[in-house]
């Protein structure tokens, strides 16, 4: 392993020991992967979406494998913010890793109340406002497709959070830049991208949509080109740090996101196949960075952008 490559990542004022975080919804509320992953080695953990009250989620089946991908329709099952604070936060706080809490709601007010409840708690580095979940009928993605509503939600969370607010973007819209700009105007400290693509599979035997929830969210390597495209566009046009994700399995994939403009990355679906996916990315990054001529993660960020970064030379 190469030691003199600097893996530190900066998301605004938050400093990560390395740029690899667990993606929300794929790493539970903390302790589940304890026996399988050395959690202290991670750059950070984004826990599953937390609402003001408990949500029961969608009927099973909730996952379905597709070519190089995964459809899920969990439906944001969660125990509610109070249960989260009581049952899960103490363990997570103990860990000492950078903790990001993913926030969900049906209404602006519900987002605000989650944020208020968490404001009193220590040990949380940032909130990640999920306005991009395709698996619930109200709330979620509708905010992520409408810049005005995105502004409202993000503003409500920023006003109450007392800590940096990250906003998670949906790739299922042609207005991703407008939504990202709205998030910035509302005070977001960073953008995270991408959430899953809206997809569906049919169960041929049962002659109906395979997932209990009908359609679901597509993740995994299949969507990596979409994630890289969104990160590239957003990071060029909006002066906020971007945390990239979508289909990252290897250090090479992570480097693709850094070059596209991500300051850090999250790994989701890959963890299901290989619980050590994140620690392998971390282990392999120094060598890969070196191989492509970078002395640090920071140097690689945006390396694929055209020379005059931020200039509107493509339109």
């Amino acid at each position: 392993m190469i030691r003199d490559v600097d893996l530190t990542a900066h998301i605004g004022r938050i400093v990560l020991q390395n740029p690899v975080l667990a993606a929300s919804g794929t790493f539970g509320f903390g302790p589940e992967y304890r026996a399988h992953v050395d959690m202290r080695r991670l750059g950070g953990i984004a826990v599953k979406g937390v609402a003001v009250d408990s949500w029961s989620g969608n009927p099973p089946p909730r996952v379905w494998e597709t070519p190089s991908g995964l459809l899920n329709s969990i439906g944001l099952q969660n125990p509610g913010v109070r249960a989260f604070i009581r049952d899960d936060l103490p363990f997570l706080r103990e860990l000492g890793t950078v903790l990001v809490v993913n926030v969900i709601g049906h209404t602006v007010d519900e987002y605000r109340r989650v944020s208020e409840c968490l404001a009193r708690e220590s040990g949380i580095a940032a909130l990640e406002v999920n306005i991009s979940c395709p698996n619930i009928k109200e709330g979620g993605m509708q905010f992520g497709h409408d810049p005005d509503r995105a502004f409202e939600v993000v503003r409500a969370v920023v006003e109450t959070a007392g800590r940096p607010v990250w906003v998670k973007l949906s790739p299922n819209t042609d207005r991703v830049l407008e939504v990202g700009q709205a998030a910035q105007s509302a005070g977001a400290a960073a953008l995270t991208a991408i959430n899953t693509l809206l997809g569906m599979a049919i169960d041929l035997d049962r002659r109906r949509p395979a997932l209990g929830g009908g359609s679901g969210g597509l993740s995994g390597p299949a969507i990596r080109p979409v994630g890289v495209r969104v990160v590239y566009e957003v990071s060029r046009r909006i002066p906020l740090p971007v945390v990239g994700m979508g289909g990252i399995e290897t250090a090479r994939d992570a480097l693709e996101y850094f070059m596209a403009g991500a300051s850090a990355v999250m790994v989701g679906t890959a963890t299901f196949g290989r619980p050590d996916a994140m620690t392998r990315v971390i282990d392999d990054l120094p060598e890969i960075l070196r191989q492509y001529g970078f002395g640090s993660v920071a140097e690689a960020v945006g390396a694929a952008h055209p020379p005059a970064k931020g200039e509107a030379d493509e339109h």
């Binding site: 919804g25 794929t26 790493f27 539970g28 589940e32 992967y33 026996a35 399988h36 599953k48 029961s56 989620g57 099973p60 089946p61 909730r62 996952v63 379905w64 494998e65 597709t66 190089s68 991908g69 995964l70 899920n72 969990i74 099952q77 995994g220 390597p221 679906t269 963890t271 299901f272 196949g273 290989r274 619980p275």
Partner: protein, 252 residues
């Protein structure tokens, strides 16, 4: 964790049993627990332990799709990338008569159960759709057990459902208990029959899984109806559930 394949058997067409060197396995598995096996796709495949012999553990599966087809193509000497043992298995035999009720690929964990409790006197009731899918009958024989058998098409044993065998057994053993594993409709019927007969039952469920460790909330089955209704995760709360957890006190 990587386990080496030390033996490969083909107990019936479309069925393969792989025996793995268990020395890499941290804990001795309990019957009903499963291995989460990487098979080349995005997700792993959950497979129950079929036996433990001489430092080897078995998985016995039916080839139904890409993952099991990949697995069926593995040869002795190759390694499998596995996680496990995962989940909660069947409890020790309760006092009184005990029936093992297995359907199709629900049979392997029940053979492992019989193997773990060599002194227990057990009734074994097995069903499958056809003769080919009625696996491990000889293994039960070697353990000194003589399963009652049935197939949907009558190609082996009685024609009918394994739950018909169970109904007969329950009427003869009013204080019996049941360990069952098989497809969901079979388990529903086992739940109904054992509730009616006031006999305890433990049920081994299948559900499509993501993580296998309780993190993704993919593999849920609904808990007993009522005010506190919740979802249970097959991977960590199960795959084996006491009947009451899923069906409460009323027959389903």
């Amino acid at each position: 964790m990587r386990l080496t394949i030390v033996e490969r058997r083909v107990p019936a067409s479309d069925h393969v049993e792989l025996l793995l060197d268990a020395s890499g396995l941290g804990r001795r598995p309990e019957p009903g627990q499963f291995l989460h096996v990487a098979t080349g796709g995005t997700l792993r495949r959950p497979l129950s332990f079929s036996r433990v012999d001489d430092g080897r553990v078995g998985i016995l599966f039916r080839v139904v799709g890409a993952g099991t087809a990949w697995l069926a193509g593995r040869a002795v000497g190759e390694d499998l990338d596995v996680m496990g043992p995962l989940g909660r298995g069947f409890p020790p035999p309760p006092p009184g008569p005990l029936a093992l009720v297995g359907g199709g690929v629900g049979i392997p964990p029940l053979f492992f159960y019989a193997q773990c409790w060599p002194d227990a006197s057990l009734a074994v009731l097995l069903g499958a759709r056809d003769r080919e899918a009625l696996v491990m009958v000889d293994d039960f024989g070697a353990r000194g057990l003589h399963p009652a058998l049935c197939t949907d098409d009558g190609s082996f044993g009685r024609r009918g459902r394994v739950t018909d065998l169970l109904a007969t057994w329950l009427s003869a053993h009013p204080h019996g208990s049941v360990m069952a594993c098989g497809p969901a409709p079979m388990l529903h019927e086992v739940a109904r029959l054992t509730t009616d007969a006031h006999c305890p039952a433990w049920l081994g469920f299948e559900q499509r899984m993501g993580c296998g460790v309780g993190a993704c909330l993919a593999c849920v089955v609904p808990g007993a109806p009522g005010a506190g209704r919740t979802w249970y995760r097959v991977c960590t709360d199960g795959p084996v559930f006491a009947r009451e957890m899923l069906y409460g006190e009323a027959p389903p």
